[in-house]
Amino acid sequence: MLEVKEVSVAYGVIEALRNISFTVGKGEIVALIGANGAGKTTTLRTISGLLRAKKGQIFYKGQDITRLPPYKIVELGLTQVPEGRRVFSRMTVLENLEMGGYVLRSRSELKAGLERVFERFPRLAERKYQLAGTLSGGEQQMLAMGRALMSRPELLLLDEPSMGLAPLLVREVFSIIQEINKAGTTILLVEQNAHMALSIAHRAYVLQTGEITLEGPASELAQKPEVRRAYLGE
């Protein structure tokens, strides 16, 4: 479904990604794990079109999306939940969700989208008219995910969904990610919390200072001594 081919990205003269290649198949949950500064967020921002690859290509459903602007990529069904949630804090919960459904063509699609999201996240329905900035961290993460689901993505990119959340909430968020996947959405997950990521992913890639150093089924990677030492705290 997604194919990243020998992509390099640089901030000025500093290379953030060097020749990385990976794929995400339809229906999968793929995790991209790695330490802080390894280039995980850069990878997602490049896929979404916020950053331009210096070299290499990105294909989504067979189409070259390397040079498309972000909004066109969303229209194709590839949506991202950015790092740190980034809800529009001065807008209401409802308005945030409407922004998530910006690419929807009709009012009825928007209404159906809202119903779907409210069904999955009943807390958001209760807080419809509240400013998003007044929500708790966990609620903001739900809103960020609900907002991304509004556009009915086929591929959802999640950047550090566990960031800054209490352990109990982290577990909740990850079980929701699994549910979303079961309902038919393919997922590319970027995480520092390798333990949680590997526990729900089908396959995973390890990113180290801008290069992919390991890849394989998540359960196998979780057994590798170098992964256990570096990312699982053993």
């Binding site: 602007p69 909004y71 991202q80 950015p82 529009f88 001065r90 807008m91 922004m99 910006y102």
Partner: protein, 290 residues
């Protein structure tokens, strides 16, 4: 007498507010002070003058024509001069706006000469009296038109899809584009609305002072900029409030006998605001993203 001055102040302030809105909306989204904005106001006034002749003194058609023409002008300027520099350093863009400003002023000077010309009669100027109060029908029209435009703007910003996209983009540019919002379209729309309001201001002021000149946008633009900063740059209700307060301050300053210093009042206010409350009256404290 006090009420009289308040009406005069609000009339003047409403025109500042109309221009200030364009500064603040553009700044809110791309953090750019568009120094050519005052000149859009000037061009709006000139188009108003031309339109009066075409439409046989119909005020609303004159106003609408000036607004529409400036929408096209504002959007074109952004497209041709500013958009190619979107990823360039901020300063380059700022200097470009000054360049566009000089271009528009010089263009109109070549076309119409540097001397101010009068605004052809388009509204009957009747003096209305309510008790001790005395104001002109033109003042009333300025206040009403400004009110309608500002309420209209609020409705667009609050309830329409593109208005909500503007708010989203002004809060978080990158995340807004991750929602599938075409940011370029939002920016064009912002320039369109800002330019329409400035053109309306130009026509109203042209009628009010019966004078239009290629350099009328310089002082008015700077003062409207002060109004936007006064209210909190990037904040839409702030620009309205800042404009009205500035108008009141000037009128009361003149009434208090400082007419020689009329234009200095705005900049004194600016200095005080920057010292006491750098983010403006309704501005939010600056948040540094790490």
């Amino acid at each position: 007498m006090l009420l009289q001055q308040i009406i005069n102040g609000l009339t003047l302030g409403a025109t500042y507010a109309l221009i200030a809105l364009g500064y603040t909306m553009v700044y809110g989204i791309i953090q750019l002070i568009n120094f050519a904005h005052g000149d859009i106001y000037m061009i709006g006034a000139f188009i108003g003058v031309a339109a009066v002749a075409i439409f046989h003194q119909n005020f609303f058609l004159t106003l609408a024509t000036a607004m529409l023409a400036c929408v096209i002008l504002g959007v074109t300027i952004e497209r041709v001069a500013y958009r190619p520099l979107r990823r360039a350093p901020r300063l380059n863009l700022l200097i470009t706006t000054i360049g566009v400003s000089i271009f528009l002023e010089t263009f109109m000077t070549v076309l119409k000469g540097p001397q101010p010309t009068g605004f052809p009669t388009v509204l009957k100027n009747v003096t209305l009296r309510v008790g001790e109060l005395e104001f002109s029908s033109i003042q009333l029209v300025i206040l009403l038109v400004s009110l309608v435009l500002m309420v209209g703007l609020q409705i667009i910003i609050k309830y329409t899809k593109i208005g909500k996209a503007m708010r989203a983009a002004s809060e978080d540019y990158d995340t807004a584009s991750l929602m599938g919002i075409n940011i370029n379209r939002v920016i064009s729309f912002t320039f369109a609305i800002g330019s329409a309001l400035a053109a309306a201001g130009g026509v109203l002021v042209g009628i009010y002072f019966n004078s239009v000149s290629p350099y009328m946008g310089v002082t008015a633009g700077l003062k409207a900029f002060v109004a936007a900063v006064l209210g909190g740059i990037g904040n839409i209700p702030g620009a309205m409030l800042g404009g009205l307060l500035l108008g009141l301050a000037e009128v009361f300053g003149v009434a208090a006998g400082f007419s020689t210093y009329k234009d200095a009042i705005a900049f004194t206010l600016l200095i005080i605001i920057l010292l006491v409350r750098p983010t403006g009256l309704l501005g939010r404290p600056i948040q540094r993203k790490v």
